[in-house]
């Protein structure tokens, strides 16, 4: 048994019980009055009692009031509710947008998300309750799904209003963009039974979707809903916003101590904006620049808003790692996109070990790279090394194997030419001849600015790669370059001997060597990808399996997570923009920057109409108001007031 409104009952009892006791005690007290004779009074009482059962119901105010009171209490027990709907209980799914744009504080100094939660709570309070003394469940049910990039079920279908409201209140703002696709998948999964579709379902039993958003959802045109299935409540009042929408910091190739920072500031207002942009490193302000940003442009054909943009760049000399922050200082309603961060790695030079019997070309190419040290050794020497020490001390950032399959593979990053080591799930099924590169991933950091179109290999190993391997370049019959991770190590495989190809003669080969060593040495393991978008998980490799890592985030600290058996660590909870620091035992902390950097999400212009797949849905005219109002408390209050009036009349000295 559940008490839905215990406090109401307590309040009513606190009023009624003392009143009743008061009436009882007062009723007992009779004032003594001396009279000359009780003879006639006794006769009058007898006459009254004799005639009472038979007299007509006379106008008796007290009796009338008592009857009214009883009627009101009975009506209250009947559970009257002012309702605009009738019939069996309905089901609703509340879709609440918690993306970055919903953090705009343009509604009476509170965020759009707060307003969305308030309207959702108002709607929940209007849901019909279970009628008192009814054997049939006619109560409405609701489910709450909060979404940004991903959808999350806050509360499953229930008629318990307190549970639903609690779930709504627990929704936290997210810093990422919004996508309704995943939320709709969840909706379909929860709203329908297996094998039954909406067409066969009684319209009364269809789930009704209620969307609370500002309308800036990127995949609306892929969402399909039925007619009158979804009600859209638009939130927000203004699209005025200034945001940092891109940021890049890099060290000069020639002088790694010199850092160049490039940022773009966007203006979504209808007028030109001038704002100050602040540049900080490790929380120390280095420069402030004033930037004039043109007004936004509305595309006439698509009605899309194109923000006005302005580029700003900073330079400084920094010989160490640092957290670079670019922040626009103009006060606007959305704070999450006012700043962006990037992690500047230290001017790191790699130590590379080349294991070869003798490859002058390869050695020359590697020496052309700005390495801290390039060591060479023979395969025999490599096999004789203390591999465990290599693993622990990480003596070499990258190990280049030239046509060599070692007996043991210490945990490291490998660039392997012409051979495939054992135990990495890669097999060679054949030797293929006369291979030319037919395709490659030009955007991959390893192949950036590398042109492989003229590469021809006289012969190559035909590689059979595992599913998780990443093919960076393809020969006509076999993968040419592949990247995979096994046992805490990273392998960049070139299945062919470079000396049996024309690649060393291509100018891109040296660049490839630089990219490969840089990628293997900085972005995998030691230097993982440190600049992430909101919602993008933090991925770290090369850890000892089971290592416990503590994470500090923008709004939390010391959250622990454990590395998996393969030595990788995956942290997906990066909804909030800001700096995340991973504290790894016996290692220097790893810092990650999570940014919004989203043109579309920074566009906070609230939409009054959303375009779904083949359907336009206008925002509801009025904000959510309570439509179901239980009336029984009012009946009870009036009944209590009548009780007091009746008592006053009863004791009144004025004869009625």
């Amino acid at each position: 048994m559940e008490w839905l409104t215990p406090f109401n009952a307590l309040i009513a009892g606190a009023i009624a019980i003392p009143l009743l006791l008061l009436m009882y005690f007062l009723k007992l007290k009779r004032h003594e009055q001396m009279v000359s004779s009780t003879l006639l009074w006794q006769r009058a009482i007898q006459d009254l009692q004799v005639n009472a059962p038979f007299q007509k119901i006379r106008r008796n105010l007290l009796l009338l009031i008592q009857l009214l009171m009883v009627i009101l209490l009975l009506l209250a027990l009947a559970g009257p509710t002012a309702s605009l709907t009738s019939g069996p209980g309905r089901r609703y799914i509340l879709l609440i947008d918690r993306s970055a744009s919903m953090g705009a504080t343009d509604i009476a100094a509170k965020s759009r998300l707060e307003e969305a939660k308030k309207q959702a709570i108002t709607f929940v309070q209007s849901l019909r309750d279970q009628a008192a003394f009814s054997l049939h469940d006619t109560s409405d049910q609701a489910m709450v799904i909060a979404f940004n990039q991903h959808g999350k079920v806050q509360c499953n279908f229930t008629s318990d209003k307190r549970q639903i409201i609690s779930a709504i209140k627990s929704i936290e703002p997210g810093g990422s963009s919004s996508s309704l696709g995943e939320a709709m998948m969840i909706t379909r999964a929860f709203a329908q039974s297996l094998g039954v579709d909406d067409n066969n379902r009684d319209p009364q039993n269809l789930v009704h979707l209620i969307l609370f958003s500002d309308g800036q959802i990127r995949d609306l045109d892929q969402i399909d809903v039925g007619a009158n299935e979804l009600t859209f409540h638009s939130l927000g009042q203004s699209g005025k916003n200034t945001a940092v929408t891109s940021l890049k910091a890099s060290r000069s190739y020639e002088n790694p101590d010199e850092v160049n920072v490039f940022a773009t500031v966007s203006n979504y207002d209808t007028q030109t904006a001038t704002c100050d942009v602040q540049f900080s490193v490790n929380n120390n302000v280095h420069a402030v620049k004033s930037v004039t940003i043109p007004a936004r442009i509305v595309d006439k054909s698509s009605a899309e808003i194109q923000p006005g943009k302005a580029a700003v760049n900073f330079s400084l000399s920094l010989a160490e790692t640092g957290v670079v922050e670019v922040r626009q200082l103009q006060n606007d309603s959305l704070k999450v996109d006012d700043a962006a961060w990037t992690i500047l790695p230290p001017p790191q030079r790699l130590t590379v070990l080349l294991v070869t019997v003798g490859n002058v070309i390869l050695e020359s190419a590697l020496r052309a790279c700005p390495l801290a040290e390039l060591k060479t050794c023979t395969p025999v020497q490599f096999n004789n090394m203390d591999h465990s020490r290599l693993t622990i001390e990480k003596t070499y950032d990258v190990i280049v194997l030239d046509k060599f399959i070692p007996d043991q593979l210490p945990r490291s990053r490998y660039l392997i030419f012409g051979s495939v080591p054992n135990g990495i799930d890669v097999s060679v099924s054949a030797i293929v001849k006369n291979q030319i590169v037919v395709d490659w991933q030009a955007s991959h950091p390893v192949l950036k600015y590398v042109n492989l179109s003229n590469i021809v290999a006289a012969q190559s190993n035909k590689l059979s790669l595992p599913r998780d391997a990443e093919v960076l370049a393809e020969f006509n019959e076999t993968p040419a370059l592949a990247l995979l991770r096994r046992k805490g190590s990273v392998f960049l495989l070139a299945g062919f001997d470079i000396l049996q190809s024309n690649w060393p003669f291509e100018p891109g080969f040296v660049l490839f060597c630089y990219n490969a060593t840089n990628f293997l040495g900085t972005q995998t393991g030691i230097g993982p990808q440190s600049d992430l978008l909101a919602g993008q998980p933090i991925h770290l490799e090369g850890l000892s399996p089971g290592t416990v890592v503590k994470i500090d985030g923008p709004h939390f600290s010391d959250r622990t997570i454990k590395a998996n058996p393969s030595g990788a660590l995956h942290f997906p909870d990066t909804d909030q923009v800001g700096i995340y620091t991973l504290k790894i035992p016996d290692e220097t902390p790893k810092v990650f920057a999570v940014n919004l950097l989203d043109d579309k999400e920074s566009n906070i212009e609230p939409r009054k109409e959303i375009a779904l797949l083949g359907r336009q849905i206008k925002a509801a005219d009025k904000s959510m108001t309570r439509s179901n109002l239980p009336l029984w408390p009012y009946f009870v209050v009036v009944a209590l007031i009548l009780t007091c009036i009746e008592w006053m009349i009863y004791n009144s000295k004025t004869r009625l």
């Binding site: 004779s37 009780t38 006639l40 009482i45 009254l48 009625l656």
Partner: protein, 333 residues
């Protein structure tokens, strides 16, 4: 010295009478006399006309002369005109006994202050039923005494508490005043085992009064007649005899128009009997109906047996009651 004492006593007695009756009112009472509806024969020669034809100075009728009649009463004027002998007949004057019975029980002594703006009374502001009854008894006694009637004044509560018998003449006025103004101790009702129980209660009182009554006359009973044992048996003993019975029921405004409200516990002032009531419009209606019915029953009882019933309110004017109403009904002339 004795004359001085007598004078002093007379002065103080006069003062007591004036506590009951206003001197101007007394002056007006001097011209009144008590009248019996049946002309009665008294024991002494009084200023009362009796229906018996006897020797007096007032001509009543003629009858033919018969041998042996007294020739002194022959009407010679008629003989001269008709040449026939007729005798004059005269009314015989008789004296009258007036017995005033006053209820002096606790029910008459409701000491609630009643302000009556309508009354012309100049007496004390506290007008209780007892006070009203005593003033009425004093007025009637005064009229009777100044006209040389035989006056007996009795007071009763649960039993006869006092009596002044056979008073005649003005000289008894002070005594009457003193009797009326005395403090009567309130006695509790006798228990059923008391040997004098038969003499208690209104029936017992009337039994005593009836036994002590001699000859004929007027009996005036001044009471509220709220007797729980009933008044019928007692009045039967008094009505129907040789006395004119006048029942004057005195009620207070509080009894006629009670102003109670709420939940009350009514306590009878005489026997402490209680009645718990909740005042309502219906109850008040029933009470008044019961009161009217009670008074009408008393009236019917009296008048059907040859008595006279008078309802007086304690806040009414004594002067109006005596000088107008009692004259009108024939008790006074």
């Amino acid at each position: 010295m004795d004359e001085k004492k007598a004078t002093t006593r007379n002065v103080s007695s006069r003062r007591k009478l004036t506590e009951l009756l206003d001197p101007q009112f007394m002056a007006r009472l001097d011209s009144l006399d008590v009248l019996s509806r049946k002309i009665l024969q008294g024991k002494l020669q009084g200023e009362r006309r009796s229906k018996r034809r006897g020797q007096s100075v007032e001509f009543a009728d003629h009858r033919p002369y018969v041998a042996g009649d007294d020739l002194r009463f022959v009407d010679w004027n008629i003989y001269g005109r008709l040449n026939q002998l007729f005798l004059k007949l005269f009314l015989e004057e008789q004296d009258l006994t007036v017995h005033i019975v006053l209820d002096d029980s606790a029910s008459m002594n409701d000491d609630r202050t009643i302000s009556n703006k309508k009354t012309n009374s100049t007496s004390a502001t506290q007008i209780t039923k007892s006070g009203f009854a005593k003033r009425l008894a004093a007025a009637l006694g005064y009229v009777s005494l100044v006209n040389n009637n035989r006056v007996t004044l009795s007071s009763f509560s649960h039993e006869i508490t006092g009596q002044l018998a056979h008073m005649r003449g003005r000289n008894y006025l002070p005594q009457m005043a003193e009797f009326l103004l005395r403090e009567t101790p309130q006695e509790s009702p006798l228990s059923p085992d008391d040997p004098d129980i038969l003499l208690a209660g209104f029936d017992g009182i009337c039994r005593q009064l009836s036994a002590g009554r001699t000859g004929t006359g007027i009996m005036i009973i001044i009471s509220d007649f709220f007797f729980k044992q009933g008044y019928q048996s007692g009045l039967r003993r008094l009505i129907g005899g040789k006395y004119d019975i006048y029942t004057i029921q005195v009620l207070s405004l509080a009894e006629l128009e009670p102003e109670f409200t709420g939940d009350l516990k009514l306590v009878d002032i005489e026997d402490s009997d209680t009645a718990e009531i909740t005042i309502s419009t219906a109850l008040l209606k029933y009470y008044k109906r019961t009161l009217n019915s009670y008074c009408n029953e008393l009236k019917d009882f009296c008048t059907s047996r040859g008595g006279v019933y008078v309802l007086a309110r304690s806040n009414d004017s004594i002067e109006s009651l005596v000088l107008k109403y009692l004259l009108k009904i024939g008790l006074l002339r």
